[in-house]
């Protein structure tokens, strides 16, 4: 499980310590290229249709207006604040369900050498390769059979199930690295298995919990297919992604609606990313096995 550890920051290993001018130029130009779409998104969210179409790159303070941004925020068809609320609740609930069921399971699998549990681990891991968007059609019928189709709990359960294989895989690897003598000591003191997990193992799992939380949150926040198919238009529930699809998809020629709506949709995740980029990026490196 060396893959879960963060690469140690590397000191320049005796190689030439300074970059050449060509290097600065290349990296600078590439960074600009990566940022141009973001620049266009931000600048054009404050302009009128005429200015967007004729001078998309211009940044003239006299032409800027917050009117369209306010309109997008108050759009009667897509209440962005409500979309945030649903998406945020989704992120929290999926993580709560996934972590609650995965931590004990991973503990038992990691600590037992019985064949049943080794097979169980393989069974969970094989789930990592099921393309989740593709099985949504049969998932709809399963959820309908238990009466959870088109409901928030149904969506939470499905999304949690898609995170289980990877979560158990990573947790099991992590718990195996924790010394067994810790839980033996707790057991001698009379602690049951749940107590050992809750009071001994869980506090030691903080780094891996953070990694998994970040990875799961990112994929839940950005998922579109699951809420689109499971919630459907009839439920009245929408996430940021399905709301953006419903409001931008129809009016994609009206740039005064497109740019402000998209900006409002990405702003929180970008702010969170910039503030936490160190953890997000090292967490993703650790989780890269997920593919």
């Amino acid at each position: 499980m060396s893959g879960v550890q963060l690469p140690a920051p590397r000191r320049a290993a005796g190689r030439q310590d300074r970059h050449s001018a060509a290097w600065y130029l290349t990296v600078g130009v590439l960074c600009l290229l990566m940022l141009i779409p973001m620049y266009l998104l931000v600048v054009n969210a404050f302009k009128d249709q005429q200015d967007i179409v004729s001078r998309p790159f211009a940044l003239n303070p006299a032409d800027l207006t917050v009117r369209h941004l306010v309109d997008a925020w108050n759009n009667p068809d897509f209440d962005i604040a409500y979309g945030y609320l649903i998406t945020f609740a989704l992120v929290l609930c999926v993580n709560a369900v996934a972590l609650t069921v995965c931590v004990p399971a991973a503990y038992v699998i990691a600590r037992s050498s019985r064949l049943v549990f080794r097979l169980a681990l393989l069974f969970f891991i094989s789930g990592m390769f099921i393309p989740t968007q593709v099985i949504l059609v049969p998932v709809i019928f399963v959820l309908r059979a238990v009466g959870l189709m088109g409901t928030f709990p149904g969506l939470v359960l499905f999304m949690a199930s898609t995170t289980i294989p990877f979560t158990i895989f990573v947790f099991t690897g992590f718990i195996r690295m924790l010394p067994k003598s810790l839980d033996e000591a707790a057991a001698i003191d009379g602690a049951g298995p749940y107590r050992i997990v809750g009071q001994v193992i869980l506090p030691l799992m903080k780094p891996i919990l953070a990694t998994v939380f970040i990875l799961n949150s990112l994929s839940v926040w950005n998922d579109f297919a699951s809420p689109q198919l499971i919630l459907g238009p009839g439920s009245g529930l929408y996430t940021v992604t399905t709301g953006v699809y419903a409001s931008v998809g129809e009016y994609s020629a009206d740039y005064t609606q497109v740019f402000p709506t998209l900006l409002l949709a990405v702003l929180p995740i970008l702010v969170v990313f910039v503030l936490t980029q160190r953890w997000v990026m090292s967490g993703l490196t650790a989780g890269a096995v997920k593919g």
């Binding site: 779409p37 266009l40 393309p131 049969p138 309908r144 898609t162 998209l262 490196t285």
Partner: protein
């Protein structure tokens, strides 16, 4: 203690796969009043004999293969550029990575607005006296645009993988190569690449597997058009067959995709094992 996880996992991930196999052998419109009617392998025959559907397979194959080559090529070259950890490379990594945290549905709409007939790029070309380019309105261009947009949005993760992989390059060998006066290319070819090659193969196939599922960005960037030229297999399942209430057909398509993904995944595991053995 394993049971709760097992129940959620089996009920919502394993059982649906079973359902998919079952429905794929039936004719079913999804209404509770209708009984699925057993039709044998008819749906699979339709999957492989309908030219609309085989075209979506071609598109998906192109997206997966060209897309993963592009993503990994970009990621590897940038990883080599941003190898050393300085304040500037740390910033550049964040800049290279940020599209990954945006949802693909937003990425698609954003690029559609930038590359559309009235979009920023064509407006710029127009003011420079050039003629507009059909980024999204020509069938060949649209597929190319789709692949490039996916690469723009996705290569950040592979970049991180390669940056981590570069830590494994033995620094004493690099030092030795420098002292012996090896050129940059010779150093890359003989020192860096051999240390990196196993992770490159794995990264290529894992990104291919994830590109097989391409759906969101098609919905927002092209809607599958023009003339179905950017319809991927997952788009066909979720946005064409299912809305037409062809549950049997959609399930057969899903099974085909699951099998392809499983074969590729098995290949990755085999390759991992082989490279682990080679390393030890």
């Amino acid at each position: 203690m394993v049971i709760p996880a097992m129940v959620v996992f089996v009920a919502l991930l394993v059982v649906p796969v079973g359902y998919a196999v079952y429905y794929s052998l039936t004719d079913y419109n999804g209404f509770p009043t209708q009984q699925p009617e057993f039709v044998g392998l008819d749906n699979y025959q339709r999957v492989f004999a309908t030219s609309d559907i085989t075209q979506t397979m071609m598109v998906t194959a192109i997206v997966a293969v060209v897309g993963s080559l592009l993503v990994n090529g970009l990621a590897l070259s940038l990883a080599l550029l941003l190898w050393r950890t300085t304040r500037l490379t740390a910033l550049a990594r964040v800049v290279m990575f940020y599209p990954h945290v945006l949802s693909l549905i937003v990425v698609g709409f954003l690029w559609a607005a930038i590359l559309g007939p009235q979009g920023a790029v064509n407006s710029l070309l127009d003011s420079l006296g050039g003629s507009p380019l059909p980024f999204l309105s020509d069938t060949t261009w649209a597929l190319g645009t789709l692949v490039c947009v996916i690469a723009w949005a996705q290569f950040g993760v592979q970049l991180l993988i390669y940056l981590a992989g570069l830590q494994a390059v033995p620094s004493d060998l690099l030092e030795a190569a420098r002292i012996d006066g090896a050129s940059r290319w010779q150093t890359f070819r003989n020192v860096t690449w051999p240390a990196l090659a196993p992770s490159v193969t794995v990264a290529l196939v894992t990104s291919m597997i994830s590109l097989l599922k391409t759906y969101d960005v098609v919905v927002s960037l092209t809607g599958g058009g023009p003339a179905g030229s950017t319809k991927t297999f997952a788009y066909e399942i979720l946005a064409v067959s299912f809305p037409k209430r062809e549950v049997g057909l959609a399930s057969a398509e899903a099974v085909v995709l699951i099998v392809v993904a499983a074969v590729l995944a098995f290949g990755v595991l085999a390759m991992r094992r082989r490279s682990d053995e080679a390393a030890s």
